[in-house]
């Protein structure tokens, strides 16, 4: 209940066009993904500073925000907050005109929800803002989306968020193999582009989707998409922050916030979508999307966010044939075969007879001879000795691979790991200098529990650092430990993969999906199709049951609504009487009635009816002996509270409703009013509460009703006649 009250004054201020124009465009960049998908690398460095094609991810996000016209960015850092802050302090973004980057540090936020609540407390966001996470990459222009968002806000202050989506090929296999994400289902109203349904973990539903039937009641048409990709770029109104504060259990942006808004129809907040066509936008969620997006960058889909254009830095990169980006000052052996789609950072040495294909190699690496690097990501200052083989692996800064060692597909080597000679690292293994935290639960359900341990950096660090908190003695100890694990002279721990997760490992790794898994997926899809066909063939089993339940629930609903409306009427009446007795201002009464309307899910028509009803009741309860005195009472009550009534009568339909309600009152509850019907009607017309058209429409509406219903029309015949004549005269 707090939300509307809090946001109400804000809405009014931000609706002011001048106010809107004055506020610079702001953005909130969450420099923490609040997940553990990039472990063990993220134990030592925050995800946003991980190099993507040799440039930290956050650079892409900031560069895009800057070019999209955002003037003020709040970088919310949580895990490794110090590293992020120092990076930003020393970056070029500090010296940019018309672009300020402010960091907000927090150590006890464990989710995006906490982050947004903290930002709300800081009170730094003053208008519409762009909400992205630091691992988002895009080159879209915000102008259209922002304009649409603002226009919609002017019309409907409940449209609090615009979500950017992008078309992508509708095949669940593609979803899996491109970004490593689950299939996403969305229901969108094709005319208003309103988001009505959002389900990202569709695989758990075993191929069935259940839509709330109310969606079909409220919307004339719905398009259901499984070919959309969520770009995780949102344009939000300030209310979003207050919503997070009011609903303290919102953690995840999509799972809780978006779904919460979609389910919650009391506030009536809406989420709209904006589809981008030619521009690029994607988010690095896991190792697979890291791989895919790196390759998209190399293939220049993200232009101008490509290595040779935007980030020359200290050493310009040149683009050669077949997507080969080479920084200057690299030493390539003549016999080295550097294949298509590669990036090589500055001062890197590549030895003879070495093959590099589809890979990214960072700065200052030394790569020996007869090395094979295929589809891998080698970061800065890595030493790879002769005869090593790397296939679809990620190798972090400072790793040393002794000669003849081999990385199988999907391996991740964290910072400064040393692999012994001729050692073969098994597929999908993750190697780190840090020991695996004892709490190992990367299951979806338990993700939050783990999030807390991940993002409360100190605690994880504590866990991890304690064993090797010392220096040399611990190191040597570790070396001794790891000799069997990583070969002679190897340093690091191979993280054990828990039993359950092993199956899932291939989904999110940099390595391509093994063919047998691929056939598994496609077979699963075919099975699903078969299942669906069977369902269609045999509707007897499930098909019959559903309508029944629907009918039942509908009946319930109707009863509910009837009950609701009487309760609502009573509540309104009580409120109104209190207002009369305590002399409460009309504005306040309106506010209270509004909140009642929201909580009972009523229309403003109902409010008008209820208020009119309570006014008539009040008038009849005041002391009177004759009909003329009663009429006087009615007159005084109506003229005193006409503003209240008028505020619920925006149009003709509501006015007709009031007349109908009046009839009902005269017939049922306050019968003594019935002889005064025409007089009061005339009075309401004089007070301009009821318009001429409304009265005439009411008459025509009644024209083909039963005789019994026409009592009042007949009574008002003279008045109606007079009205018609008056209008004719005017014409």
């Amino acid at each position: 209940m707090g939300a509307p009250k809090k946001s109400a004054p804000k809405t009014s201020s931000s609706d002011d066009p001048e106010e809107l124009a004055r506020v610079p465009l702001q953005a909130v960049l969450l420099a923490d993904s609040f997940t553990t998908k990039f472990r063990p690398i993220t134990l030592e460095r925050p995800k946003v500073l991980l190099p993507l094609v040799n440039v930290p991810m956050i650079e892409y996000a900031l560069a895009w925000l800057e070019s999209a016209g955002v003037e003020e960015v709040f970088v919310f850092c949580c895990a490794h907050a110090k590293q992020v802050t120092t990076y930003i302090e020393n970056s070029q973004w500090r010296s940019q005109p018309n672009f300020t980057v402010t960091t907000i540090e927090s150590h006890n936020s464990i989710s995006a929800g906490d982050a947004l609540r903290l930002i709300y407390e800081r009170n730094v966001i003053h208008g519409d803002f762009v909400l992205i996470s630091g691992d988002t990459l895009s080159n879209m222009s915000l102008v259209r989306a922002l304009q649409d968002h603002k226009d919609r806000r002017k019309k409907d202050s409940n449209a609090v968020m615009t979500m950017i989506i992008k078309h992508s090929k509708p095949s669940s296999a593609t979803h899996q193999s491109r970004l490593g994400t689950e299939e996403l289902f969305m229901a969108i109203d094709p005319t208003t582009k309103q988001l009505l349904y959002y389900e990202e973990n569709a695989n758990h539903l075993k191929g069935t989707l259940s839509l709330d039937k109310m969606l079909l009641v409220d919307n004339s048409s719905i398009t259901l998409h499984n070919d959309m990709q969520d770009c995780y770029i949102d344009i939000c109104s300030p209310e979003v922050l207050s919503l997070f504060t009011d609903n303290f259990d919102y953690q995840h942006l999509r799972r809780h916030f978006v779904k919460g808004l979609l389910v919650d129809d009391i506030m009536g907040y809406k989420i709209l979508t904006h589809e981008i066509h030619s521009s690029y936008a994607a988010r690095i969620d896991n190792y697979r999307s890291y791989d895919t997006i790196s390759k998209d960058i190399i293939q220049r889909w993200t232009y101008p966010l490509v290595p040779d254009v935007l980030f020359p830095g200290d050493s310009p990169t040149r683009l050669d044939r077949q997507g080969m980006y080479c920084a200057s000052e690299i030493q390539l052996s003549r016999s080295a075969k550097v294949g298509p789609l590669i990036v090589i950072g500055s001062s890197t040495v590549v030895g003879s007879n070495t093959t590099v294909v589809n890979s990214v190699i960072g700065k200052g690496c030394i790569i020996g001879s007869n090395v094979l690097i295929e589809g891998s990501y080698v970061w800065d200052n890595v030493v790879i000795e002769d005869g090593c083989e790397l296939r679809h692996a990620i190798v972090c800064d400072g790793v040393i691979m002794k000669s003849g060692s081999r990385l199988e597909p999907g391996v991740v080597l964290s910072f400064k790991v040393v692999i012994g000679p001729n050692f073969v690292v098994p597929p999908y293994s993750k190697v780190s200098l840090h020991q695996q935290p004892t709490v190992e639960d990367s299951d979806e359900e338990l993700e939050y529990a783990e999030n807390s341990s991940d993002t409360i950096h100190s605690s994880t660090r504590g866990q991890v650092d304690k064993p090797n908190g010392g220096s040399s003695s611990d190191l040597s100890e570790m070396q001794q430990q790891s000799i069997p694990e990583l070969g002679l002279g190897g340093m690091g721990y191979i993280w054990s993969i828990c039993e359950g997760c092993h199956e899932e490992e291939w989904k999110h790794s940099v390595a391509p999906i093994p063919p047998e898994k691929l056939t598994e997926i496609t077979r699963a899809i075919e099975d699903d199709l078969d299942l669906a066909n069977m369902d269609r063939n045999a509707p007897a089993s499930s098909g019959e049951l559903k309508p029944d339940t629907q009918v039942d629930s509908e009946d319930d609903e109707n009863e509910d609504s009837r009950d609701d409306s009487t309760y609502f009427e009573k509540e309104v009446e009580a409120t109104f009487l209190r207002a009369v007795n305590e002399n409460i201002k009309v504005d306040h009464v309106i506010l209270e009635v509004n909140s009642l309307r929201l909580s009972y899910n009523m229309q403003s028509v109902d409010c008008a009816g209820a208020i009119f009803y309570s006014m008539m009741r009040l008038a009849s309860q005041l002391s009177h002996s004759t009909a003329s005195e009663l009429y006087k009472n009615v007159g005084s009550v109506v003229s005193k509270w006409q503003k209240l009534l008028k505020s619920y009568l925006p149009g003709k339909d509501e006015e007709i409703e009031v007349i109908l309600k009046f009839e009902e009152i005269c017939l049922e509850s306050v019968k003594e009013l019935s002889p005064l019907f025409t007089q009061i009607l005339h009075f309401l017309y004089d007070k301009e509460i009821l318009s001429e058209e409304a009265i005439q429409d009411w008459e025509t509406e009644k024209a083909d009703a039963d005789e019994s219903d026409k009592v009042f029309v007949k009574q008002a015949e003279k008045f109606l006649q007079w009205l018609r004549e008056a209008s004719e005269e005017e014409e």
Partner: protein, 417 residues
């Protein structure tokens, strides 16, 4: 000069992000920026020209590094350097004439602090170079005594001069700056009016009932065609749409709005249509020193088609597009590859961009180059502000606009790389 530095940074950012479209806009903004750099530059009493040249060169290097593909930036930087040299030269000659011949001998015997043997050697080399350089057309026409200028090409001549006449010195330094800024203002004006000046010649080239073909969209071409139309020439225009950016569509719209009979064709229909065409008129991105043209993609094909049917291929280019470099210089990046999204819809083809299958290598590559190189032998005529020129004449035109010393600018950048 913190404000100049911030201006420079801002411009560099714009260049980096490819936010400035079109070489005319780039050229103009570069000139404006360099003007403010010069006006804010503090000038020492001695070697003013050298100080200015250093300042401009330092900024120029940054600008060129920011967007090496936009050669107009480098062209303007060189033009400004050339202007400084010219102004310095003309001032020195004026001063010497006033000072009598004795000052020339004074120059040799002087033990100026800046006049180290190394510098004088450089001066000698510069002098030698300018004697070796063929006299430019302008000097021939204006009949200037070229020999009198030779000993004073370098700034060292000015130094000794300033030392002997201290009263003259301050006025001279102010004068040099003033003159340079005046000249840059002229340059900016030239850039602004280049369309009009080129368009003025339209009637000489476009005749009644001719058919003109063009590709893509160029402001210069638009003005040129409209100028001919205004002079009551009636002719028809074929516009090739210029895939993948389809700027030809915009041009066609614009031409129709100005009342020209226009036909829009696809790029691939050019060869089929060329036999009906009397003349091909196109714009250029950059004209190289050998007369080759870097132009929107697709133009080489048009030029070949034109040659096959002996249709004149005319290139319109403002003087800021003349680049003193040869296309085989390693520093000259001929092309920029843009996003494949201009060709393909990412959503429709996202399954082809799939790295999760098989070996992790996508089978589909998309290449979207921005420019084509049209060799000089395919170009029939260049039309600049100064008139029509043969491709083989380009190097002479360039010698008029740039001084040979400023090619060093590019080499310096290369050595930094």
């Amino acid at each position: 000069m913190p404000d100049v530095q911030s201006l420079v940074n801002e411009f560099i950012l714009k260049l980096k992000k490819r936010k400035i479209e079109g070489s005319q806009a780039t050229a103009r903004q570069t000139a404006v920026l360099l003007r403010s750099v010069i006006s804010q530059q503090r000038i020492p009493y001695t070697s003013q020209a050298a100080a200015l040249i250093d300042a401009v060169r330092a900024v120029g290097e940054q600008l060129i590094a920011a967007n090496p593909i936009e050669l107009a930036v480098g062209n303007i930087v060189r033009r400004v350097l050339h202007i400084i040299r010219e102004e310095d030269l003309s001032l020195t000659t004026a001063a010497i004439e006033g000072l009598n011949v004795s000052s020339v001998s004074d120059d040799d015997g002087d033990t100026d602090k800046d006049d180290t043997p190394g510098l004088s050697a450089a001066a000698l080399a510069a002098a030698a170079r300018s004697t070796l350089r063929p006299p430019s057309l302008q000097t021939l026409l204006e009949d200037l005594p070229d020999s009198s200028a030779i000993p004073h090409t370098s700034s060292s001549g000015g130094d000794s001069d300033g030392k002997s006449k201290s009263a003259d010195k301050s006025t001279r330094s102010r004068k040099l700056k003033h003159d340079v800024i005046e000249a840059i203002n002229e340059l900016i004006q030239d850039i602004d009016t280049c369309h009009d000046q080129i368009a003025e010649q339209a009637v000489e080239h476009i005749h009644h009932n001719e058919v003109i073909l063009t590709l893509g969209s160029s402001k210069t071409v638009l003005e040129f065609l409209c100028a001919a139309k205004e002079k009551k020439r009636s002719f028809r225009v074929f516009v090739a749409e210029g895939a993948p950016r389809y700027q030809g569509h915009l041009l066609a719209k614009e031409l129709v709005a100005r009342g020209l009979q226009t036909t829009l064709i696809t790029d691939s229909a050019v060869f089929a249509m060329i036999s009906r065409v009397n003349m091909v008129i196109v714009g250029a991105h950059v004209v190289m020193a050998n007369g080759g043209v870097i132009a929107p993609v697709g133009l080489n094909m048009v030029a070949l088609a034109a040659q096959r049917h002996a249709v004149p291929f005319v290139v319109l280019a403002g003087c800021h597009k003349l680049c003193p470099l040869y296309p085989h210089n390693p520093e000259v990046l001929l092309n920029e590859l843009r996003s494949p999204s201009e060709l393909l819809d990412f959503g429709e083809f996202s399954d082809c961009m799939d790295f999760g299958y098989g070996t992790g290598t996508p089978l589909l590559h998309v290449v979207n180059p921005t420019f084509d190189y049209v060799p000089p032998k395919l170009v029939s005529l260049f039309i600049t502000e100064t008139g029509g020129h043969d491709p083989s004449y380009m190097y002479r035109l360039i010698a008029d606009y740039y001084s040979a010393d400023d090619l060093v600018l590019q080499r310096k950048v290369a050595s930094v790389k």
